[in-house]
Amino acid sequence: MPRVSILSFLEWLDSHAWSTALHESLYMYPLVESTHVVTLALFVGLTVTWDLRLLGWAFTQVPVSEFARRILPWSRVGFFIMTTTGLLLFYAIPVRNYQNIFFRVKMIMLVLALVNIWYFHRRTERSVSGWDTWTTPPPAARFAAAASITLWFAIVVAGRMIAYNWFDCDIQPQSDFINWAAGCVVPPAE
C-alpha cells in the first residue's frame, strides 16, 4: 500500500501537466514571479507604513482607526495578489519548494505574522478609541508593529533565498540538521 504523505501528494502534484507547463513556460513563470515581487511594494510597503503609524514614527496626525480603514484595504489587495501568485509559484515546483529550508522558514514566519495580525485585531485594537489620536500608541500596539516589520522583512529575505539551491536535497552531502529540517529523503550510507 502506498504511503500517503505530504511528500507523496506533492510528488503527484509535481507530475501534473499544468505544473510542469507553468514551471517550464518561457513567459508565464517569470510573469507570475515578477508580479509576486513587484507586489511587495503594495503589500509589504503599505503594511510598513501602517506599522510606522503604530510605532508613532510617521503619519502621527492620522488617527489609528482612520489609517486602518483607509490603508489596510489596499494592503489586503496586495496580500491577495501575493497569495495567489505565491500559490502558483509553489504549484509550479511543489516538491522542490517543500524540501527547501528557506521555504519552510518562510512558511513558519508567515504563520507567526498572521497570528500577530489576528491577535492585534482581536485584542490590542479593541481599546483603540482610547488611544486613537495618540502620537505614540501604547506598548502592545508598538510591539505588534515591530513584530510585523521584523517578520515581513524576514519573510522577504527567506523568500528571495528560496531561489538558491545551496541546501537542496539533491545536493549531498548536507549536514544532518539540513537533511532533517528540509525533510530530505536520504538513502542510508552503505
Binding site: 513587484v38 522577504v156 529575505v157
Partner: protein
C-alpha cells in the same frame, strides 16, 4: 559612443570582484534591495493614492507627502547603494541586457519626476485631489512600476 569599456571597468572594481567571488554577498545584497523596494513602494504609494483621491483622504496631500518623504529618501538611498553593488558584480551582463537599459533610463526619469515635479505639486496641494494631482499620481505609479518590473526582468533575460 561605445560604453562597453566603462562597464568592463565597473565590473573590475573591488566591489564587483568581491561580490562575484562570494557565494553569499549577491543574494544578501539582493534581499536588502528588495526590502528597500518594499519601503520605497509603500512611501510612494501612500502619497500617490492620496493624490488619486484615495487612501488618507481626510488629510491634506501636502501633509501626507511631507510625512512620507524621509522614508522615501531613505529607501531610495538604500536601493541606489545596493543597486550599484549588484550592477557592478555583473556590469557586462547588464550591458547586453535589454531590461537593464529600460530600467536605467526610466530610473533617472522617476527620480527627477519625484523630486522636481511630484514633490512641488504635492507641497502646494490641499484637501482636494485635482485632475493635475491624479495625473501626477498615475505617472508616478507607472514610472516606479516600470523601474521595478524591468529590474526584476534583468534576472530572467
Amino acid at each position: 559612443m561605445d560604453l562597453l569599456p566603462y562597464f568592463e571597468w565597473i565590473e573590475a572594481t573591488a566591489i564587483g570582484n568581491a561580490i562575484r567571488q562570494s557565494l553569499w554577498l549577491f543574494p544578501v545584497i539582493e534581499a536588502v534591495h528588495l526590502l528597500g523596494l518594499s519601503v520605497l513602494g509603500g512611501s510612494v504609494l501612500i502619497v500617490d493614492l492620496r493624490m488619486l483621491g484615495a487612501g488618507l483622504r481626510n488629510h491634506a496631500i501636502s501633509q501626507i507627502a511631507r510625512d512620507a518623504r524621509p522614508w522615501f529618501v531613505g529607501a531610495l538611498v538604500i536601493m541606489l547603494l545596493t543597486g550599484w553593488a549588484l550592477f557592478s558584480s555583473e556590469a557586462i551582463k547588464c550591458y547586453y541586457n535589454f531590461s537593464f537599459w529600460v530600467k536605467i533610463t526610466t530610473l533617472p526619469v522617476a527620480i527627477g519626476f519625484a523630486f522636481f515635479v511630484r514633490d512641488r505639486i504635492a507641497a502646494g496641494a490641499g484637501m482636494n485631489a485635482t485632475t493635475l494631482t491624479r495625473v501626477i499620481g498615475l505617472l508616478s505609479i507607472a514610472l516606479w512600476f516600470t523601474v521595478a518590473a524591468a529590474g526584476r526582468w534583468i534576472g530572467f533575460s
